[in-house]
Structure formats: structure tokens, C-alpha cells
């Protein structure tokens, strides 16, 4: 299908929504670094306009039946045309609203969280950069433009993860995130090149239109789908590129809330949704995606069960939930996956922001230390965190319950019961580790000596009474808003489903299997997980050791992230650096440098020999003159 032309209001709204954050970024980075409050105001003003524009677009086009877009030709080369512009369809409108809303809430929250930080202005500059890159990614009409902004989002992530760059682990984490996502992006680009070479262009509407099989053999479609999915694996931290996300928690907590839970890592899932008809052309690839999503979901859940750091729990949880979304999409559930993306953005950002309040107040990331220091006394974060946790665990009537049920329904519709089993196991584990954290903070262990030292955060704790702090109010307001959204969003499931499939009803073609027992089993498993967590952590007299932590080798396996990081370290050291890099280094030094040095030495030596004639006795010079004269004579009289 082709895109309808947009009217002026729509075009203006899109351009404002994407352009103003860029203007804010440029102004802040170029001129305003010395005035932090002005920078914050500028950035928040830009994102407010973006949010208003996104809401305006959403309301205006709620009943859209065709995608709207505009594009201008940028490069033409032979038969390949590259254009830039924008494309609005229901998914992109929804994602734009999510991105701008959560960016707005996080930027307001940061006024309180990052107050007093010496890099305050730089922080808001990077936030605006991210807002620009992410909104432009969402409305990109071609894969090439999307790839450009995909990389820009990665840059913003690198800058924000390594924000406190004086801390070595933070800058290392930023580097690791960028390099790992970049590795995925190499595969992504190869996939795009395959599509470009065979199909001729990278326009999203054309790729989804259904005549791709006329131009590409099935094997090539599968290969390019798998390669493009490599980019999703990198960006959304799926197996095997998942270890950068827990390390990315070195960044400030609002950054974790915005980038690494709700928006940037969701860009991978968004890409999946964008190219859903294209990916659906290859059932093999969809099965591979399903497998990777399942593995990531289960692996990350196990890692979350043994960690003590609040932010790491939510980081692993993000990987796990993204895997779950990918499972839903790969099982054919377009609305299911996108709806879970929406609800997850809401409650995961909420959970991170609540964690941020605790970290800001108590100065530590360790959940047990926070509990001991009196975490439950902070009423608003505690209540909001419990609401978010219940949504994450899938308890009704919160939004998480509705979205998880939809995905479970899709998994049940697959022929192999393995996937549904994995999904249910994941639900149980999710409830367990989520409420392990809640109980660790809410029901602290009685005082005993010899506990391990808490994991220090670079953010010092506050000494005074936090409740009447102005910063506390700035941080609490977004929490309340997000908690409200988490409570209410579940009921919008039907309306959102109709909105998303209005343009292309074929997206959600095969309806989910309606198993009557499924919701009850899922709720039962979630409650079982909560109960297990309560038994182990929630009772005042309990030992506060999880059932996994009792088995030392298993706990170590989970805590070492299934040795994935160790494998990467070994691989890099022994294979890449020792063999490949050493080979290239030898080639560079011996062949290239050696060759150039030999040429230089030869020139100098030759000149030294020839200079004998020049710097010598005057008679040698005369001999040269006479020799030339003699030769010229011979030439003229005999030639």
C-alpha cells in the first residue's frame, strides 16, 4: 500500500516533535553549558512540545485507515533511490506517544534526581539528543533512515551510560554497550544490504507489501530476516548479546528508566513490529526468533533470582520481558507484542524510577541494605513499586496482566506446547524474583552483624527528612502518574487492538486460541511465585535465602550470568586479540611500515651514493659535464 499525503497540521506536528529536541540538544551543547537550569528548562520545554504534538497526532488520527507519510528524494544512484521523510501508522503513533511521554516524565524526575550534579547541563543535552534520535527512528519511512537513527540512539546511550565518566566501570560499561550493540548492527546492515540488492529499495511500506517473494528466493528472505534480527538481538539485549544491559546500570537511574527499560531497548521490538509482514514471510526465521526470545526470557529470569542490586533485577527483568514480547510477536501476535511493549514501558519505567528514589535517599543499590535502612518508610515509592511489581508479575487488574494474557494466548495457539510451557515458567520466575525484591525492601531482616557491604552508588545518600524535599516532590510526581497509567491501561486493550489493526487487518490474522483455563493457570503461577517469595523473604523470621541460593553451584552459575561474559572475555583474548589482531598487527608493522621504511632507506642510500658526484671534488663535476657533452655529440652526429 502507499502512504496518503499528510495535511499541514500533521506535517508540522511531526517536524516539531522530532526537530525541537534536536534544537535543544544543539543549543545546549554549543552554547549553554554554563547555565544548567536554562538547559533543563529548554530540554523539558522541547519534550513537552513533542509530547503535545504526539498526543495531537494520536487523537487526530485515531481512526486512520491508511498510513500517512511524506518523503523527499535524497540520493539517487542507478536504480536505487534513498529518500528521507516520515511515515505514520498506528504503531508509530503509539510508539511516539510512549517515547515522548516517558521522556517527559523522566526529564521532570531528573530535575530532582540529578540536582547538584556537575554535569547537569550535559545530561539534559544528551537527553535531548536521545529524544530527537528516538522520535525520528519511530517515524522513519525507510530502513536506511531507521538505521541512521538506530545508531544515533546507540550514541546517546553510550553518552548517558558513561555519564559519570570519571568512574572507570561506568565508562567501561558505556563502551561495552556500544560495542555489543554495534556487533548486532553489523548483522543488521548486512541484512539490509541483502534486501537492497535483491529487492531494490528499503522502503518499509514496500517491504511489507507482500511482493517481496517475487524478487527474492525464500532462502534469501530467511537469511536477510535472520541478519536483520541480529540488530534486534543487539539492541534489545537478547541472547547472546545480553550482558551489556546489566552493566549499563552504571548510568544514572533516570537513564536506565528511559533508555534501558522503556524506549531504546524497545526499539528492537518496535523494529520487529514494523517489519512484521516481512518477517512473517519466513516461518523458519520466526521459529528462530521464538527460540531466541524464549532462551533470553528464561536465562534473564534465572540471573535476576540471585542478584542483590535493585537496578540489576529490573535490568534482567527487562531482558526477560523483551524476550517475552519477541515470543509474542514471533508466535504471530502483533497486537499482543505491541500491547505488552506499551504496558511494559509504563510499569518498568515506574519500577526504575522508584528504585531511583531509594538509591537517591539511601546511597546504595543493595536491596537488603535499603530495607534495613528503612526503605518502607518512603510511602509513595513503596506503594508505586508494589503496583509496578504486581503489573510485572501479571496480577489482575493491572495492565501487565492483560498484556501477558494476550501473549500467553498466542503461545497456546502454537502447535508445540513447549513454548507455552516456557512462557508459564517465565511467569512463575518473574513473580518470584519481583516479589523477592519487594519483600527485601519492605520486610527487612532484623539486625544482625556480618552482612556483606552494600554495593555503593556514586550518588550519595541524603541525611535529612526526604518527604518535604522539593526534589522528592519532583521525583514523586512522575511515579504517581505512571502508577495511574499502570492501573488504567489494561482496560484499553480492546481499543488499542482495534486501533493497531485498522490499517492492515491482516496483521493479527490468526486469532489466538481461547483456552478457558489459561488465565487461571497463569494467575495461579504468579501467585505461587509471590507466595514462594513471601515464604523465603517476606516473613520476619525467614532466613532470606532464596531456594536457588541454597544450591551453591547453581547460584554461582546464575550470578556469573551463565558464564557468557567469561566466554566473551576468553574469546576476545584468545581468538580475536591473540590471533586476528596479532596477525593484522604483524602485517601492519612488517609489511606496510616495513615496506615504507625500506623505500625510505633505499632512497636515502641511493641518494648518498649519487651525492658522491655532487659533493665531491670539482673535477668530478667537470667529468660529468664532459660526459654529457660527449653523449650529446654522439647523439647529434650519429643519431
Amino acid at each position: 500500500m502507499t502512504a496518503a499525503t499528510p495535511d499541514t497540521v500533521t506535517t508540522a506536528a511531526v517536524l516539531l516533535a522530532t526537530g525541537l529536541p534536536f534544537a535543544a540538544f544543539a543549543l545546549i551543547m554549543a552554547a549553554l553549558r554554563g547555565r544548567p537550569r536554562l538547559c533543563a528548562g529548554l530540554s523539558i520545554a522541547a519534550i513537552t512540545v513533542s509530547l503535545s504534538a504526539a498526543l495531537l497526532l494520536l487523537v487526530r488520527h485515531w481512526h486512520m485507515t491508511a498510513p500517512i507519510g511524506a518523503a523527499a528524494q535524497w540520493l539517487v544512484s542507478g536504480r536505487i533511490t534513498v529518500s528521507i521523510g516520515f511515515l505514520l501508522d498506528p504503531t508509530s503513533l503509539l510508539m511516539l506517544t510512549i517515547v515522548t511521554a516517558i521522556s517527559f516524565l523522566v526529564q521532570v524526575y531528573s530535575l530532582g534526581y540529578m540536582a547538584g550534579d556537575p554535569g547537569f547541563a550535559r545530561y539534559y543535552g544528551c537527553m535531548s539528543l536521545f529524544a530527537w534520535a528516538m522520535t525520528s527512528l519511530v517515524v522513519s519511512p525507510t530502513m536506511l533512515q531507521l538505521y541512521v537513527f538506530w545508531e544515533l540512539v546507540g550514541v546517546a546511550s553510550y553518552l548517558l551510560i558513561g555519564f559519570w565518566y570519571e568512574k572507570f566501570s561506568a565508562s567501561e560499561a558505556g563502551k561495552k554497550a556500544f560495542v555489543m550493540t554495534r556487533t548486532g548492527d553489523v548483522a543488521f546492515f548486512l541484512g539490509l544490504l541483502l534486501v537492497l540488492v535483491h529487492f531494490g529499495n528499503l522502503d518499509i511500506l514496500k517491504m511489507n507489501a507482500g511482493d517481496v517473494p517475487l524478487h527474492m528466493p525464500p532462502a534469501m528472505i530467511t537469511l536477510s530476516a535472520l541478519l536483520i534480527f541480529g540488530g534486534i538481538v543487539g539492541k534489545s539485549a537478547q541472547f547472546p548479546l545480553l550482558t551489556w544491559l546489566p552493566d549499563a546500570m552504571e548510568g544514572p537511574t533516570p537513564v536506565s528508566a528511559l533508555l534501558h527499560s522503556a524506549t531504546m531497548v524497545a526499539a528492537g521490538v518496535y523494529l520487529f513490529a514494523r517489519l512484521f509482514p516481512f518477517f512473517r514471510l519466513s516461518p523458519t526465521a520466526m521459529t528462530v526468533f521464538l527460540a531466541i526470545g524464549t532462551i533470553s526470557m528464561l536465562l534473564a529470569s534465572t540471573m535476576a533470582m540471585v542478584t542483590r542490586d535493585i537496578k540489576q533485577v529490573w535490568a534482567y527483568s527487562t531482558i526477560s520481558q523483551l524476550g517475552f514480547m519477541i515470543m509474542g510477536l514471533a508466535a504471530g501476535g502483533y497486537v499482543a507484542g505491541v500491547f505488552h511493549l506499551t504496558t511494559h514501558a509504563g510499569f518498568k519505567a515506574l519500577l526504575f524510577l522508584c528504585a531511583g528514589v531509594f538509591i537517591h535517599t539511601f546511597g546504595t543499590n543493595d536491596m537488603f541494605a535499603i530495607g534495613r535502612a528503612g526503605g518502607r518508610a518512603l510511602k509513595i515509592p513503596m506503594i508505586c513499586m508494589t503496583i509496578g511489581a504486581a503489573a510485572l508479575a501479571g496480577l489482575p487488574p493491572l495492565s501487565g496482566f492483560f498484556s501477558k494474557e494476550t501473549i500467553m494466548g498466542r503461545l497456546a495457539g502454537l502447535s508445540n506446547p513447549l513454548w507455552l510451557g516456557a512462557g508459564l515458567l517465565g511467569a512463575f520466575l518473574t513473580a518470584y524474583y519481583t516479589f523477592r525484591l519487594i519483600f527485601a525492601v519492605a520486610v527487612p531482616a532484623p539486625e544482625k552483624s556480618g552482612d556483606e557491604a552494600p554495593v555503593g552508588a556514586p550518588h550519595g545518600g541524603h541525611g535529612g527528612d526526604p518527604h518535604h524535599d522539593r526534589h522528592y516532590r519532583l521525583m514523586a510526581a512522575p511515579l504517581v502518574v505512571l502508577a495511574g497509567v499502570t492501573l488504567a491501561l489494561g482496560w484499553a486493550h480492546g481499543a488499542l487492538g482495534r486501533f493497531l489493526t485498522a490499517v492492515d487487518p491482516g496483521l493479527d490474522a490468526h486469532p489466538a486460541a481461547h483456552l478457558a483455563w489459561l488465565p487461571y493457570v497463569a494467575i495461579g503461577l504468579a501467585l505461587a511465585g509471590v507466595l514462594l517469595a513471601w515464604v523465603e523473604f517476606g516473613r520476619t523470621a525467614s532466613a532470606r535465602i532464596g531456594f536457588v541460593e541454597r544450591v551453591e553451584p547453581v547460584a554461582r552459575l546464575f550470578a556469573r550470568r551463565w558464564y557468557i561474559d567469561d566466554f566473551y572475555r576468553w574469546f576476545l583474548d584468545r581468538v580475536v586479540y591473540a590471533r586476528l589482531s596479532a596477525f593484522c598487527d604483524q602485517g601492519d608493522r612488517r609489511v606496510i611500515d616495513g615496506g615504507l621504511d625500506a623505500v625510505a632507506r633505499g632512497t636515502v642510500g641511493g641518494s648518498r651514493r649519487l651525492s658522491v658526484l655532487h659533493l665531491s671534488m670539482v673535477q668530478y663535476k667537470m667529468m660529468v659535464i664532459f660526459a654529457v657533452m660527449g653523449l650529446l655529440t654522439l647523439y647529434f652526429f650519429l643519431g
Binding site: 659533493l615 670539482v618 673535477q619 664532459f626
Partner: protein, 105 residues
């Protein structure tokens, strides 16, 4: 002409080559100057022969010019040799080559 023109040219050529050899192989700067003089005079012989051959007096005027140029050149050359002798204490061409160095000290 009593003597064929080619013989005069051959004489001139032989004189020129002898002068060249003298200039190039001697270890005394004054002998180098002598060699240059012989080469110039060889050229003058060729001009005289040509004047006789074509019965034009310009050839002989050219010889007068050559003699004048040779005189001027010898005076400058001897001045330079005196300077070089004063600087290096010998008349060997080997010893003066360092005076031609273009390296900045």
C-alpha cells in the same frame, strides 16, 4: 686552402680533448685553469679555420673576443685560487670541496 678544413677541425677537437683531460686529471688548481685555457684556444683554432674556409673575417673577430674573455676569466680564476690557497693552505682540488658545502653549520 692548403690544409683541408677537416684537418683543422680535427686539430681543434684533439686540442679540446687534451685540454679536457688536463682539467680533469690534474691535482693542481692552476693546472686545471691551464686546461680550461687550452679548451678555449682550441675553440679559437676552429673559428680561424672556419674564417679561412668561408673567407669571412668574422671568424677572426670571434677569436679576439675569445682571447678577451679568456683573459678576464683567468684573472677571476686566479683570484679564486689565491683565496682558496689562503683558506686551505694547498692547491689540491680535494681540499677545497668542503668550501662548497651547502649545509648550515
Amino acid at each position: 686552402m692548403i690544409v683541408p678544413y677537416s684537418h683543422i677541425l680535427l686539430l681543434s677537437a684533439l686540442l679540446f680533448v687534451l685540454g679536457m683531460l688536463c682539467a680533469v686529471t690534474r691535482r693542481n688548481l692552476i693546472m686545471v685553469l691551464l686546461g680550461l685555457e687550452i679548451m678555449l684556444n682550441a675553440g679559437a683554432v676552429a673559428f680561424v679555420g672556419a674564417a679561412l674556409r668561408w673567407q669571412q673575417i668574422e671568424g677572426q673577430t670571434m677569436v679576439i673576443f675569445i682571447l678577451a674573455v679568456a683573459a678576464a676569466e683567468v684573472s677571476i680564476g686566479l683570484a679564486l685560487i689565491v683565496f682558496a690557497y689562503r683558506r686551505t693552505g694547498s692547491l689540491d682540488p680535494q681540499s677545497i670541496k668542503d668550501l662548497f658545502s651547502t649545509e648550515r653549520p
